[in-house]
């Protein structure tokens, strides 16, 4: 399961299959050599947070005109997730309970230690033991059925940014689209030495990384259940 492809920016549906927001971000938390997915984040504040200074300015304007939602996001624990499907996350919660989910203001992200937002982690450079700089294409996890799902590792490539033109990075991983499959590798989470605010460092040399084709690749989430075609 690759987060950008299978989870981030996807719809969230409540117990009655009504819109309950989008997966705007997600926490990645880690201890020693293992990492798991933290709560799913939804709310306009999470999106504004990704815009940097422009987002801060917009948040301030929103607060000024009384739009409080622009400064607070909701966090959905995995215990409230009923099912992950390719296009959506289905919750166990009815609509009335959504406002009761834990809230967080967008400028309180630094409270976490050993945790980072997906949107921040994905933009960090990865430095190998032989000082090669790589970019992150996506983050791969085990099947999203456990609570919480385990992070398997990072999909990395030498020029993930330059080649993607801003498209979600996974879109450029196919050769058909002129992508970066040939240079793409899998960096197991256990091979990560340390994560700072500026970079991810690995003990592995670039030549020791697993090619994408040989990386663990759990089945993606299923499509929604529906009537069979006529």
């Amino acid at each position: 399961v690759d987060l950008a492809r299978d989870l981030i920016d996807h719809r969230i549906a409540d117990l009655d299959d009504e819109d309950a927001g989008m997966v705007d971000d997600i926490w990645i938390t880690w201890t020693h050599d293992a990492a798991t997915l933290g709560p799913i984040i939804t709310g306009t504040a999470a999106l504004l947070h990704q815009l940097g200074r422009a987002g801060v300015a917009l948040s301030a304007i929103a607060a000024h005109i009384g739009w409080s939602h622009a400064n607070v996001w909701r966090e959905i624990p995995w215990t409230d997730v009923r099912r992950i499907e390719r296009p959506q996350v289905k919750l166990l919660l009815p609509r009335a309970q959504l406002p009761e989910l834990p809230h967080r203001t967008s400028h309180a992200t630094t409270e976490h230690t050993n945790a980072m937002l997906y949107s921040e982690l994905i933009n960090l450079p990865v430095f190998t033991r032989d000082h090669r700089r790589l970019g992150i294409i996506d983050i791969r996890t085990a099947a999203l059925i456990s609570e919480p799902p385990q992070v398997l590792g990072l999909l990395v490539a030498a020029h993930s940014r330059r080649r993607s033109f801003g498209l979600k990075h996974f879109d450029t991983t196919t050769i058909r689209l002129g992508g970066i499959t040939r240079g793409g590798c899998f960096l197991a989470w256990s091979d990560i030495a340390r994560i700072t605010d500026q970079a991810i460092h690995t003990n592995a040399a670039s030549g020791e990384l697993t090619p994408l084709a040989a990386a663990p690749n759990p089945e993606p989430p299923p499509m929604p259940e529906g009537p069979t075609p006529p």
Binding site: D19, T44, L47, P87, D171, M223, P229, P230
Partner: protein, 429 residues
């Protein structure tokens, strides 16, 4: 060109009898025809005919094929993946890159909405004789109230049915007292005679015609209709019939407007600058009755387009940011969605009251439509080819050939459009 999702009767498709399914498809086709034309076509088609006679019929045909192709694809993506165009855009482009087409579409939609509201005011002006500027605010309030009070089915079906009388235009050409050179039109459709001078203006007019037919807001409204009505793969046949048959029949209106302009206005060197001059086509065919039907049809079409554009603006924002939305939901349950379309209408009114020429706004919005189209189509094409999402419903060879061809054409046209707009003084020469 408002297409809407004309599947008003398909809810509960699996429970329907064969006759019921046929009726659902017939309603889809009929309303697609009635909702085919908007202010963009009412302005650009007769004008192009009056200026270039039949030599731009090819652009109409091209636009119709593209519109059919992408409407079918937008509907198919929705009913298979259960996501609308803007949800797909957010997923594939991500939040930050997705903001680019979102903002472009917002600007474009507000311009288009201004043109539609002005168009409705023009139609009422012809009936009541009051200057259109005095009618802008009442019309805008009417469009807003209609949406606040109406359900989804009301919003999509009523204006489209009201637009059906516009069929008086092609009818006037076929059965009226107008001598149409059908042979010349058919010949120029296949082998157009490109003018020897003003190539830039000719190219810009062709781009605006394609933009008029392939207005981006239609896809958002179209695929949002799928979510409103909970389509499933069982609705695939309705999607295809509406896209192909409905668009084919609806294109008669666009062809009729251009051929009418070419037949009646070109010989007199009249370039229609007002909707009343377009009404001459119907009037020449059926006299006063023709004019009444034209005004009724034009009013229905631009009312439908006003609703679709404002709804699609709010739908796009809501779907992109994950807000609750839905035309049939109570206003208090979808506050951001409601505020979004109200603000879009307000912005359109401000533009119109600033004194900008509505016809100029229409032409510019048609051209910007072409600039914005590739941003929408690329993520659609990516998803339509994604095996995991689409399975057996992924694009076939025909859909891919047409899709990628149009994406390439629209990208080239979009890149060329802005310089052409500057060179020609926004089409003013």
């Amino acid at each position: 060109m408002p297409v809407g999702k004309r599947f008003g009767a398909v809810a509960g498709w699996e429970q329907m009898t064969r006759m019921g399914r046929f009726a659902a498809m017939a309603l889809g086709v009929v309303t697609a025809v009635g909702g085919f034309v908007d202010m963009g076509e009412l302005v650009t088609m007769p004008s192009a005919g009056a200026t270039y006679r039949f030599s731009l019929l090819w652009a109409v045909a091209l636009g119709v094929v593209g519109a059919m192709s992408y409407a079918e694809m937008a509907g198919r993506i929705e009913l298979v993946s259960q996501r609308t165009v803007f949800q797909v855009m957010r997923e594939r482009l991500g939040f930050r890159l997705g903001l680019v087409p979102l903002i472009a579409v917002m600007v474009l939609n507000v311009l288009t909405l201004a043109a539609e509201i002005a168009g409705l005011a023009f139609v009422i002006q012809l009936v009541v004789g009051v200057d259109y500027l005095w009618l802008i605010i009442p019309v805008a309030v009417g469009v807003l109230v209609f949406q606040l009070a109406g359900t989804w089915k009301l919003l999509e079906n009523v204006p489209a049915v009201l637009g059906l009388p516009l069929l008086v235009v092609p009818a006037a050409l076929i059965w009226g007292q107008i001598d149409v050179d059908w042979g010349g039109a058919a010949h120029q459709l296949v082998a157009p005679q490109v003018p020897t001078n003003d190539h830039f203006l000719y190219a810009l007019t062709a781009i605006s015609l394609v933009g008029a037919i392939m207005s981006p807001y239609e896809w958002y409204f179209y695929s949002s209709g799928g979510r409103e009505e909970r389509w499933t793969t069982r609705d695939l046949i309705v999607d295809r019939v509406t896209a192909i048959v409905g668009f084919s029949l609806g294109s008669l209106l666009a062809f009729g407007l251009m051929i009418g302009g070419a037949t009646l206005l070109f010989p007199l060197s009249i370039s229609p600058g007002h909707i009343s001059q377009t009404g001459l086509i119907a009037m020449s065919g059926f006299g006063q009755t023709g004019l009444v039907l034209f005004l009724l049809g034009a009013g229905g079409c631009v009312l439908g387009a006003s609703i679709e554009v404002s709804q699609s603006t709010a739908q796009a924002l809501a779907q992109f940011f994950g807000w609750s939305w839905g035309a049939s939901k109570k206003t208090r349950d979808v506050p951001a969605f409601t505020i979004a379309y109200a603000l879009a209408i307000l912005a359109a009114v401000v533009i119109l009251l600033s004194g900008v020429d509505p016809v100029k706004i229409t032409v510019i919005s048609m051209i910007f439509a072409v600039v914005a189209l590739p941003f929408t189509f690329l993520p659609m094409m990516l998803v339509a080819n994604d095996d995991t999402y689409m399975g057996q419903y992924r694009n076939g060879m025909l859909a891919n050939t047409i899709g990628w061809l149009f994406l390439t054409l629209l990208t080239v046209a979009g890149v060329a459009a802005i310089p052409l707009l500057v060179i020609t003084g926004a089409g003013g020469g």
